[in-house]
């Protein structure tokens, strides 16, 4: 088992190094310079700034320095925000993204499960069609359309919830809802299929013939078995949602990390692009690593098969 974990860990490091290298190379091939105000910089000033930032060094030297700094845990200072270190930016901005992601997952699971269960229980009736219609709408309407609609209707027209900003609990509802629509749809459809599978299985028939009430059959025998696939995908979905809050952050003026990513790419903020890529990929890699290990524990076949390679 330890060998298996060690092997996975080495793979993780190699993946990480490859991501860093590829991003570094791609980024330095971006046209234009990373300076915030580049429209206004004369050729002379540009050269001076490049020298001060060490950008006049050959790429190989910059790459070597960067790797050494990462090993020390130093992601450097952002070009656009010269007084802030990249690690600080991540520390200050990630909580909002994470919170929003988690809240939206709660919404998705709750609403998705209810829709899915209703649809399965009322299979091929109008309830089923209704719930699946909502699910399809959820998949098809992108958040940049849904967000402004919710913002205008709920926030401005009806005035029930704040239209945007990030002050109190009430500010969380609309963005979390917007972000959760896609996952609501996924959860609902998965739950419906899996419920239907279980409902048609032999042990449910047995339970019925034992004379158990419909309520007890659903809660005790159906739900517990049908929900398993949802639990399996929840991990990846969570990471996906947390790293994908960008559009929603923009629409609802949320101080999260997603906004920085796009800004950084757009303004060639080398250090910030690298820092965020490293952070996000670490997040994904670690989750994948843990999932692998968890599978290894649950299902020895996986561990053995990979161990032999």
């Amino acid at each position: 088992m330890y060998r298996f974990i060690l092997r996975r860990f080495c793979y993780m490091l190699i993946t990480f190094w490859m991501i860093v290298t590829v991003t570094f190379v791609l980024m330095h091939n971006l046209p234009g310079d990373p300076f915030a105000n580049s429209e206004k910089l004369s050729t002379q000033q540009r050269a001076l700034l490049a020298k001060e930032y060490g950008l006049d060094q050959p790429i190989s030297v910059q790459y070597k320095d960067y790797l050494i700094n990462i090993a020390k845990g130093d992601l450097g200072v952002s070009f656009a925000y010269p007084t802030r270190r990249v690690t600080e930016i991540i520390k200050q901005s990630f909580p909002a993204s994470a919170e929003l992601g988690i809240e939206s997952i709660i919404f998705s699971v709750l609403i998705g499960l209810i829709l899915g269960i209703t649809a399965a229980l009322k299979h091929n009736k109008s309830w089923d069609y209704g719930a699946m219609f909502i699910a399809i709408v959820g998949v098809s309407i992108p958040s940049f359309v849904l967000g402004p609609i919710l913002q205008y209707l709920v926030g401005v027209k009806w005035g029930i919830l704040p239209a945007a900003l990030w002050d109190g609990p009430a500010n969380r509802v609309l963005p979390a809802l917007t972000l959760s629509f896609m996952t609501i749809a996924i959860t609902a459809r998965m739950m419906r299929t899996s419920m239907l599978d279980v409902l048609h299985s032999d042990y449910i028939k047995t339970a019925r013939s034992k004379g158990l009430s419909q309520f007890s059959i659903i809660l005790k025998h159906t739900l517990r078995n049908a929900i398993l696939p949802i639990v399996t995908v929840l991990g990846p979905i969570t990471v996906n949602v947390i790293t994908g809050t960008l559009v929603v952050e923009q629409i609802f003026a949320i101080p999260g990390l997603g906004k920085y990513f796009v800004q950084a790419v757009y303004s060639n903020d080398y250090t910030l692009i690298m820092g965020l890529t490293i952070f996000y990929s670490l997040l994904l890699i670690v989750v994948m690593f843990l999932t692998d290990i968890a599978y290894g524990f649950i299902d020895p076949r996986i561990r053995l098969a990979k161990g032999r390679n």
């Binding site: 971006l30 046209p31 234009g32 310079d33 300076f35 915030a36 105000n37 580049s38 429209e39 206004k40 910089l41 004369s42 050729t43 002379q44 000033q45 001076l48 001060e52 925000y81 010269p82 007084t83 802030r84 930016i89 200050q92 901005s93 909002a96 709660i106 919404f107 709750l110 913002q151 205008y152 926030g155 401005v156 005035g159 029930i160 919830l161 704040p162 239209a163 945007a164 900003l165 990030w166 002050d167 609990p169 009430a170 500010n171 969380r172 509802v173 809660l219 005790k220 739900l223 923009q250 629409i251 609802f252 003026a253 101080p255 999260g256 906004k259 800004q263 757009y266 303004s267 060639n268």
Partner: protein, 542 residues
Amino acid sequence: MTNAKRFIAGISTTVLLAGLLTGCGGNTAQSGSAGNSKQLLKMTLLAEPQALDTSVANAAVSFDILNAINEGLYRLGANGEPIPALAASMPVITNEGKTYTIKLRDNIKWSDDSPVTAKDFEYAWKRTLDPKTKADYAFMVAWIKGGDAFMNGKGSADQVQVKAIDDKTLTFTLENPIPFMTAQLSFPVFFAEKQEFVEKYGDKYAADADKLLFDGPFQLSKWDHEQSLTLVKNDKYWDKDNVKLNEVDVQIASDNNTLANLYQSNAIDVARITRDQVDQWKAKPDYQISPQLYITYVEMNEAVPALKNDKIRQALALSIDRSNLVDIVFHDGSQAPTGFVPNGTMDGNNKEFRKDAGDVLPKYDPAQAKTLLAQGLKEAGLTSFPTLKFTGDDTEDGKKALEFIQGQWKQNLGIDVTVESIPHKLRIEHGQTHQFDLLLFNWGADYNDPMTFLDCHESTSSFNESQFKDPEYDQLIEKAKAEPDGAKRAQYLVDAEKILVAKMPVAPVNFRAYSYLVKPNAKNILFFPYGSEWDLKNASVE
């Protein structure tokens, strides 16, 4: 059964919680009306301020806050005129307009109770020039004798001719006379910094609210990065009696639609809006237009053979219906250009430049353009106009403008261009390396003077992207730069602009404006045409 119970309990708790949240929301939204007797104003910034270090700050969002929490020797008034701020009076200018001597006000204090002295200015300006500070706007301080050499790493701080004679007197000598210098001292790059404080925090200076010193109308009490900033009235400010606001809540929101929605739900008192929202608000008292010292033009690269001919360039310029373009593409109070220097730019001699120079840009005239094109092609020895590439930013405005102008050329001149929208950074690089045929270009003023729009067409300028070369033009610009007499200087600049009209190295298409929504009970907020967007010193909420 226990699991099922827990499950149900879990669901009901969360649903209840969601209900509760919704309840709270109702209250928040309703109580969010515009400020009142509390003198609380709710503003927004379009982005997180990059830095609140006066040396390093390089964007309007930073200048807005710096202008509130700090102050220069002068502050701009409603008409852009300099008013003594930390300076006690207007500067004494000698040596043919090159040497300035400025007395500081008594009773000016930093928020740590220490006095603001002339040494704080000398230190700050030299720190800005130091290449290690990496200050984008150092070039303005480099107008001072010895500044350019120090900025470029060739001289030393001691050779820069700015000096605190005593605690209350600052003197500096410029390389050339600059008629707008007094007004420019209101720009954050000319603010004071306290050496001891800056050095105490080093790299972290000005990174957070507690790493800043204040000498302006407000103090920054809270800075939640990328979310909001809170300004409170500065009781140590020399002119605190004229500061009416107790608190300014500044939220950061970048989406224009979001801003309009926040404004409509009373969560903010001021919002900048764009094209799509203008018609809805145009007739209401909330709507205000702030014309900017900002021009958009088409650069025509003279290294391209077809664009080397004056008449062809004029034809391209004359065939664009600018009034229509401004209304269809921008639709935000922007105006059709009448010259190469935007409306509202002062001439350095206390008059508006456009009034001196008049409407010099020839009117939209498709017939004349067609004739000019035919003549030009003949002169250039070409049988037809080649298909050129027309490049611009991939922003919404950028793309719309490109398509509109492409359509005008097709319709009025029968010529084809290929439109190419590319990311901003790439567009800048293409411009500065002259890798383009036709390029849509934006230029905003750094200071309120025609020079900021005219010296970029000098043959030696880093910003002469069209590669326009005209010795007479260069000469006029250089003469204007050295001329101490305001009237003569203004005339040189008027003459220089006339050369641009005749040669048309670039075709102006827009004088930009910003559209704002301002709650009618929010009074005396100043909107500026360059540098900071707004000033709240005398603002109040009724």
